[in-house]
Amino acid sequence: MLTIDSLTKRYGRGAPAVDDVSFTCAPGTITGFLGPNGAGKSTTLRMLTGLTPPTSGSATVSGLRYPDLPNPGRVVGVMLDASAQHAARTGRETLRLAASLVGVPSRRADDMLERVGLAGAERRRVRGYSLGMRQRLGIATALLGDPLALVLDEPANGLDPEGIRWMRELLREFAAGGGTVLLSSHLLHEVEATVDRLVVIGAGRVVAQGGLAELLAGSGVVVRATEPDRLAGALRAAGVPAVPTGDGALRVDADAETVGRAALAAGAVLTELRAADGGRLEDLFFSLTGAAAGSAAPARTEVAA
């Protein structure tokens, strides 16, 4: 549905803002586009939606460049910046204008206001909306043309936990109906519970992409032993690097069986052996993007989706 192919954007002579980015989003899936601020997420989404011309590469929607879609709002619902709304218009007028532009009845605008929970605030001017309410209005605008795909830049920004859960359910429902979702975020915990696939970008380059489960599996296990030093030595001998977590446990980039066998061979008594959890995606995120920011040619982690 959405195909990003070797997309590159270079401003001036400096390092490219987006460097040879490729990924695809299939119908029925939610893809999280993850990276720290300034990593190139927004620039990529702007090239996808025809707002910024790429230096090279292409972005297509079902094979067509976005600007070549006859009525893009009926194919791709886009929200790139929730605060880019006319402050003096009411929520309802904002939606009705968009409805008449994409050619859906104004009844649909009212339905969408209800869908995003703004029916009570529809007569208020956008000036008086909180950021969370503007996000909801932006989502309503994106949904207006009953599109096949959604492209959302930082949709969770400004939403409270209840709002984030609401958004998650809305996107899951949209994907369950065969829709394609691409959303960007720098908030890891928000993305982890929502997306099926991840594309992680750092310093303009894709540093990891794949299914959520596969990417998480790559982040290793946490292991504890009665004698941590003996275990660490055994792991070193087995050629598996281990990193102390600071609370007596070791973080190992290997699967549980490898660690168990190493411990058995050394006669180390394990007190805990489990998949790294909690901050695992966070660790992945920071290790990947940190490496990308620190070196000119970051290693890429490719996981088959």
Binding site: T3, S62, P67, P70, P72, D81, L97, G103
Partner: protein
């Protein structure tokens, strides 16, 4: 817009892509009607319309109640009715081209209509329609005032050369509005564009004469507008064309091209 060739063949690797909905291209008239609505649906838009009505009615009302020198001809009623509006119409043109950038709604608009040239053309068309509406009101008020005044004084209304009065005022209004739109396009910031529009031509009128002497009329836009709206082009065609190109064509083209390429934020 034509720098890249559109890809019409589906690329591989996109996974199973559902068929695109069979929806026709957004028509130009629909974009114009949305732009028209956008120019009127805010408090500022309503205020501008109210201002136009007041600027028309107040001077005409004053004239109606001070008929000391008899009943003026139609052309005088028209000039008092459109005196204030003449200041207002350029603002309509300016705001048509700037508000999208000032209010940051360009992002939404250009996402829904990625061919920016169509949006810009629609904005210009919508501004011209607003101007036409305002001028229809102005001319109707002038005609009504003439009839009322003649009735009050018991004289026959003097219409004069209605064709050239109406035509001339329409041409003058359209030119002023387009010049405003051109400044709005070039400057893309409401307050700055209005200021420059009010100051720059007046400054040039003084500076130009001092610097160029008689040659300044090659760039005197007000003289050019005056000649165009009074249909007196004989012997001055080239000067009128250069003035209009310099003050309307150039800023409009500059602003247009920039808006097509500009990074929308």
């Amino acid at each position: 817009m034509t720098a890249t060739t559109p890809t019409t063949t589906p690329t591989t690797g996109g996974g199973a892509s559902p068929a695109l909905p069979d929806v026709p291209r957004i028509s130009f008239s629909r974009i114009v009607s949305v732009e028209l609505r956008k120019s009127l649906d805010t408090r500022a838009g309503a205020l501008l319309v109210a201002a136009a009505v007041l600027l028309t009615l107040v001077p005409v009302g004053w004239q109606l109640t001070h008929l000391t020198d008899g009943v003026p001809d139609f052309d005088l009623w028209v000039s008092s009715a459109r005196g204030g509006v003449a200041l207002f119409l350029p603002v309509v043109g300016i705001l048509a081209m700037t508000s999208e950038w000032t209010q940051r709604t360009a992002l939404t608009t250009f996402t829904l209509v990625p061919r920016r040239g169509r949006v810009l053309a629609a904005k210009l068309a919508a501004a011209v329609l607003v101007g036409a509406g305002v001028m229809a009101f102005v001319l109707a008020v002038a005609a009504a005032a003439l009839l009322v005044a003649s009735g009050l004084e018991g004289t026959a209304p003097v219409w004069g050369d209605v064709g050239s009065v109406v035509g001339g005022s329409l041409v003058a209004s359209a030119l002023n509005l387009l010049m405003g739109a051109a400044f709005g396009a070039a400057i893309a910031h409401s307050a700055a564009a209005i200021t420059v529009f009010l100051v720059a031509p007046a400054l040039w009128q003084v500076a130009g004469t001092a610097l160029l002497g008689d040659d300044a009329q090659w760039l005197d836009v007000f003289q050019a507008f005056g000649r165009l709206s009074s249909f007196e082009l004989a012997g001055h065609g080239a000067q009128v064309v250069t003035s209009v190109l310099a003050w309307v064509g150039l800023p409009l083209a500059f602003g247009w091209v920039r808006a097509l390429r500009r990074n929308v934020s």
